[in-house]
């Protein structure tokens, strides 16, 4: 009951943020010194008439606030504008490109959690022992390395030198196997995984390292809690203490960090999609910036920010689910 109320409250709170995101994006792309038309037509010999024609086509002849209102009204109806470069509605484009990005980002987080949580717990359990030192060094390198460079290195090693894995593009599990000329679902999935492996590791390493550090410190703290001491005093075996008494409450900061780090991961996806030639939102952003297709740029920015906002809501609700103290009210 209260969880439901909390959910509704969180969703309501997101509305002004989404409006703000749209506004900021709109301002960035439209109102600041760089005139989109000038940028678009840069280097071309154009007369005034062409400029006006272009302006009219994009509605740029109308005052700023009017354009914003029109854009917002469109947004509410799910209309993100029209891409003249690609000759299709931006929203349609988004639908096509969303899948690969989500596939990449989600798999990166799965990879990060699956590796980081056990490693972090192990490091906390064996604090100041070799295991701990090794895992801390891994984490340190992980947070210090640019993801796109990891991508390049992975391609070099596993695709170029060893030739074990493909160096780019994804195979989408939701497609018809025939599209790729595969025998069936099973091969499709197998190929999906093979293609996904390198970009997933490249994008997930930073997340893994961050989560590992937090998992470790959170577990260390949790293991010193008085209720853990109490469990020890009642003869609970050390393994149960680790698995049950200390673990659950130690996951709370992890949940928060997964939500907040979605932002870094989505940004990283832009780079990874470029390195691995994946046709997702990130690559779309870069392509449309090169083409100065500014409706698409706005669209991608807003959609990525929205994914982040939704992600944070989901993690907040999971937090409330794990921590009974947050029935409603602010957590900060």
């Amino acid at each position: 009951m209260t969880l439901l109320r909390y959910t509704i409250r969180r969703i309501l709170q997101a509305i002004p943020v989404l409006i703000g995101i749209s506004f900021i994006t709109f301002v960035l792309v439209n109102a600041l010194p760089g005139d989109p038309v000038a940028i678009m037509l840069e280097g071309q010999e154009v007369d005034q008439e062409t400029i006006e024609a272009v302006e009219r086509r994009y509605g740029l002849d109308r005052p700023f606030h009017e354009r914003f209102v029109t854009y917002m009204l469109g947004l509410i109806q799910g209309d993100l504008g029209y891409s003249f470069h690609r000759d299709m509605p931006v929203s349609t484009l988004m639908w096509i490109r969303l899948g690969p990005t989500l596939l990449l980002v989600i798999s990166a987080f799965v990879f990060a959690l699956v590796t980081a949580v056990p490693l972090g717990v192990l490091a906390a359990k064996r604090r100041n022992e070799p295991t701990d030192h090794v895992s801390r060094i891994i984490a340190l390198i992980g947070v210090s390395t640019p993801s796109f460079w990891i991508g390049i290195m992975l391609i070099l090693i596993f695709a170029v030198w060893l030739g074990w894995l493909p160096s780019g593009r994804l195979v989408y599990p939701w497609r018809d196997p025939a599209h790729y000329g595969f025998d069936g679902r099973l091969e499709l999935y197998y190929q999906t995984i093979r293609h996904l492996l390198l970009p997933m590791v490249a994008l997930g390493t930073l997340q893994m390292a961050t989560i590992m550090r937090i998992e470790r410190s959170s577990m260390v703290e949790s293991l010193q809690e008085e209720y853990v001491q109490l469990a020890r005093a009642y003869g609970v075996p050390e393994r149960t203490i680790l698995r049950k008494h200390a673990f659950r409450s130690a996951q709370l900061p992890i949940i928060t960090i997964v939500g907040l780090n979605l932002s870094t991961a989505l940004g990283g996806a832009v780079l990874i999609e470029t390195v691995f030639e994946i046709n997702g939102m990130g690559r779309l952003l870069i392509q449309s910036i090169q083409q100065l297709d500014y409706q698409v740029v706005m669209g991608v920015t807003i959609v990525l920010a929205t994914i982040f906002v939704i992600g944070v809501i989901i993690t907040d609700i999971s937090y409330a689910y794990v921590d009974p103290r947050v029935s409603y009210g602010d957590r900060d």
Binding site: E225, E226, Y227, Q229, L230, A231, R232, A233, Y234, G235, V236, P237, H245, R248, S249, V322, D323, P324, R325
Partner: protein, 377 residues
Amino acid sequence: MSNETILEVDGLKTHFYTEQGVVRAVDGVSFDVREREIVGIVGESGAGKSVATTSILRLIEEPGQIVDGEITYRDLTIVGFEEQDDGTLTPREAMLSNREMRDQVRGNEIAIIFQDPMESLNPVYSVGHQVTEFIELNRELSGGDARQEAIDMLREVGIPEPENRFDDYPHEFSGGMRQRVLIAMALGCRPTLIIADEPTTALDVTVEGQILDLVKDLQTKYGTSFIWVTHDMGIVAEICDRVNVMYLGEIVEQGPVDDIFHDTKHPYTQKLLESIPRPDRTVTELDPIAGTMPSAINPPRACRFHTRCPDARVACTEVEPRFVAVGNDADGDGDEHEGEHNDHRTACIKYDDVGYWDSVPLEKVGDRDIQYVGDRS
């Protein structure tokens, strides 16, 4: 008082190896606990009370270590050392392994209640689940029986509607109610001894009163022994049968509660009692102990209290005080526990024939209420 002794602590030393030096938190402490009695350990913060009791369950963590002494619970050796040829101490073979501690002692024989009811319960599990878990672990009960037992125990400690509150989380209980839950948890495991580490300090007076009454009732009913750690002389007077007064890692005086209050021997106990404002009568002038407790890293030489003791003489800085029996029939009521063993003992050389009375009183420095004299090496 012919009850059997169940726990014996002898010469216990627990030290903490910190960067600043070795903290001698507990430094040669001996006391015992008999069946069906409440033994108090009283002292100010930093006296080593909690370290002493956690040592009994061998729950001392890095950088702490039990370095010497014997702890025997019935016929089990919780802590025991033997001297090697090279003079080092190594654990005796009879000493319980960690696993044996877990299976045979912790929870099922000796349970513990911590000071802070807010921190002692895991916030992400329901209260009933936590009580049930410990009961199931320490008594051979099936899940369903353990749950029923948990509900019964919660009712026993005065939680209204325990069936309905079973699945509530700790934050939904008040501080007093949480402390009741912890008592239910401890008693539910049917231990012989419960260590209560300042269990009412975080509570309001009226709630404290409720808890003290509850404990007294349940102690009678279940026949459990208690070690009650506290800094509150009022609580000591209220519930303890025998008392150990601790100062800076050592027990300075121990004996039946009446003797401690009415036949006080050690100057520290004396001064401690004089420092307390009374609820039952108006005191016009308190006479506090001067100064603050010295560091346990470099405790004062010989008698550790000599730096603050009003009666300190030069001998106090030179002679290590021994425990001497000082029991006499001071109250004149034909004290019955004198016959069997002389329980009242103190570690002050005033009561020992080692030259205190021939020695010169220590000079007091400073004219204010802080006097700190002597050894600071």
